[in-house]
């Protein structure tokens, strides 16, 4: 793995002009972080915390007031740095007059792709995001989820080494959301670096290796997810098919040794998302079987 970070922000500061002349608003305050190649990094924070500004600075859409951002060692403000990036904005809107295939083709051509290679790539990507049946439909009639998928396809068209995703599952139903999450994990397995912003903390937790928490423009915490969320003095033990007598023995052992304390116990829970998917997928399967 290369030593050059996929993304680097060094002492990033960004001021915006306020409503009144001369009064500036500091949106990002001395933020520094690095994303290693192949890593999935999540930037989380409340609305107005500066995460979108940080993301835009990384993409070169806004110029830092001071400090710098780079992508694979290249200054983000240089056009060259964008050869390696795919970006999916929050709630993306694309040219409504284009079809799904034309949209991917347009962005592919902008990246210098052409001919057979581009044609094959369009087919591959539309299949990957599950839009092959809608390839010749104009985006005018697409749902929010479908727009999100076409957004992902255009972001990946030139096979970038870095994907920047701003709220990638905004407006997508749980099934689509799970598919996007699986896709991020697949991209990670392929060595692609992913930098994502999301309000859905559970999803960030499921896919990210490292996270940064930004609040009022300051990166208040940053590190490996496992380190950040682990409660050091607590241990989780999940048993399957444990009998009541076995559980009693464990409780007794804990009581007798006086070295630990049972804080809580009960049935392990699935997530609402898993339940929803199980129910809807089994329903869909039954319908398919009856047909």
């Amino acid at each position: 793995m290369s030593d050059v970070p996929a993304v680097e922000a060094k002492n990033l500061v960004k001021d915006f002009k306020g409503a009144f002349k001369g009064k500036k608003v500091r949106a990002v305050k001395n933020v520094s972080f690095q994303i290693a190649p192949g890593e999935v990094y999540g930037l989380i924070g409340p609305n107005g915390s500066g995460k979108s500004t940080t993301m835009k600075a990384v993409l070169g859409l806004v110029a830092p007031t001071s400090g710098s951002t780079s992508i694979f060692g290249r200054n983000s403000l240089k056009v060259d740095s964008r050869n390696e990036v795919g970006f999916l904005p929050e709630n993306p809107y694309f040219y409504k007059h284009l079809t799904a295939a034309e949209t991917v083709r347009f962005y592919g051509k902008l990246c210098g792709m052409r001919g057979r290679k581009l044609k094959e790539r369009i087919g591959e990507l539309l299949e990957l995001v599950g839009l092959q049946d809608a390839r010749d439909r104009r985006l005018k009639g697409f749902s929010k989820g479908m727009l999100q998928r076409i957004g992902l396809a255009q972001a990946m068209v030139q096979d970038p080494r870095l994907l920047v995703l701003d709220e990638p599952t905004a407006g997508v139903d749980p099934t689509g959301s799970r598919e996007i999450r699986d896709l991020i994990l697949e991209l990670k397995n392929r060595g692609i670096t992913v930098f994502l912003c999301s309000h859905l903390l559970e999803q960030v937790q499921q896919v990210c290796d490292r996270v940064g928490i930004i609040h009022q423009g300051v990166l208040v915490n940053e590190g490996r997810l496992d380190d950040l969320i682990a409660v050091e003095n607590r241990t989780e033990l999940i048993l399957e098919n444990a009998s009541e007598s076995l559980l009693d023995q464990i409780r007794t052992l804990v009581d007798v040794t006086h070295q630990a304390e049972v804080v809580s116990e009960g049935n392990a829970r699935t997530t609402l998302e898993d339940l929803f998917l199980r129910e809807t997928m089994s329903d869909a399967k039954e319908q398919a079987a009856s047909k």
């Binding site: 964008r82 809107y93 694309f94 007059h97 902008l110």
Partner: protein, 310 residues
């Protein structure tokens, strides 16, 4: 994984991709539907004569042809200029509002390529519309010229005009038909619309609303049309022909630099209506003048747009 090659500062290929997409966008917005009423107008004026036209015996059929050209070229001028302003004013703010611009600028696309591509796309659509209108103009004018030639020839033969007078009369009428000079008039309107589109491009790079862009571009259009008249009236004495003083010269030069002098385009188009001789060099100069203004406006747009934050 290897890093990709560096991106060139200016790529004609990328510009053409953006221009082609702009053309597709405008075509699918059904802008060419505007051509239907224009076609009806061009065909419809075939059936109207000037109220003082009393038939071939007046021996002034060229007046009819002049009216035909005047209406058609005037319509083409208004359509192309308005289209240049409105289409350009809508496209870039539309891309910003829809955040489509984010996805384009996050690809290796220099901002200059984006601006030039958008402008070329609008110019291409204006050009296509002008070609369609020009074909209609040539066809209807040819039909009407032939009609007048037959009328006048029959009348002059009936009266017994000498052969040389007959030939001169016919030549006079033919000069008002579809000639190369007429094409220069059409080209002048296309160049004017392109310059106006470039003005709208510049304004849209710093404007915060489409309405502002359209209104300001329209203002530039009007000032450009009347600036030469205003300069003459304000800065020279019409009776004694005194030279303007230094302050007047500076103001006059400033106005000329900021606002293109559309009178230059109009004079070529007016010449085409009156079937006056237009020199090829005049037309080439007008082309150079238009290219210079478009170039200046594009560079200024780029200066504004290159530092714009989204």
């Amino acid at each position: 994984m290897s890093t990709r090659a560096s991106t060139s500062f200016f790529s004609l290929r990328r510009i053409l991709i953006i221009a082609q997409n702009t053309v597709t966008q405008l075509v699918r917005m059904k802008v060419f539907y505007f051509l239907a009423p224009i076609a009806l107008l061009f065909v419809g004026i075939q059936f109207f004569d000037l109220i003082w036209y009393q038939g071939a015996e007046t021996l002034q059929p060229e007046q009819e042809l002049r009216m035909h050209k005047n209406i058609c070229l005037g319509t083409m001028m208004v359509f192309s200029s308005m289209f240049g302003i409105v289409a350009t004013a809508l496209l870039i703010p539309g891309d910003i509002e829809d955040r489509t611009l984010y996805t384009i600028l996050c690809k290796p696309v220099p901002r200059l390529d984006y601006l030039v591509g958008k402008l070329l796309g609008v110019m291409a659509v204006i050009f296509i519309a002008m070609v369609v209108m020009d074909v209609l103009l040539v066809a209807t004018l040819h039909f009407r010229t032939e009609q007048k030639l037959v009328e006048v020839t029959e009348y002059m033969k009936k009266i017994g005009y000498p052969e040389e007078d007959l030939a001169a009369g016919r030549a006079e009428i033919a000069a008002h038909g579809p000639t190369l000079i007429l094409q220069y008039g059409v080209m002048a309107h296309f160049l004017k619309a392109s310059v106006i589109a470039a003005v709208a491009l510049l304004i849209s790079t710093f404007s915060t609303s489409t309405i502002f862009t359209i209104a300001t571009s329209a203002m530039v259009w009007i000032i450009g049309a009347f600036q030469s008249v205003a300069r003459e009236g304000l800065f020279t004495d019409p009776f004694f022909g005194e030279d303007p003083n230094m302050a007047e010269r500076i103001v006059s030069t400033f106005v000329t630099l900021v606002f293109p002098d559309f009178k230059l385009f109009e004079s070529i188009a007016d010449g085409a209506v009156r079937a006056e001789e237009v020199l090829h060099t005049d037309m080439a100069q007008l082309g150079g003048f238009a290219a210079l203004y478009i170039g200046i406006y594009v560079v200024l747009s780029w200066f504004v747009f290159s530092d714009k934050e989204f």
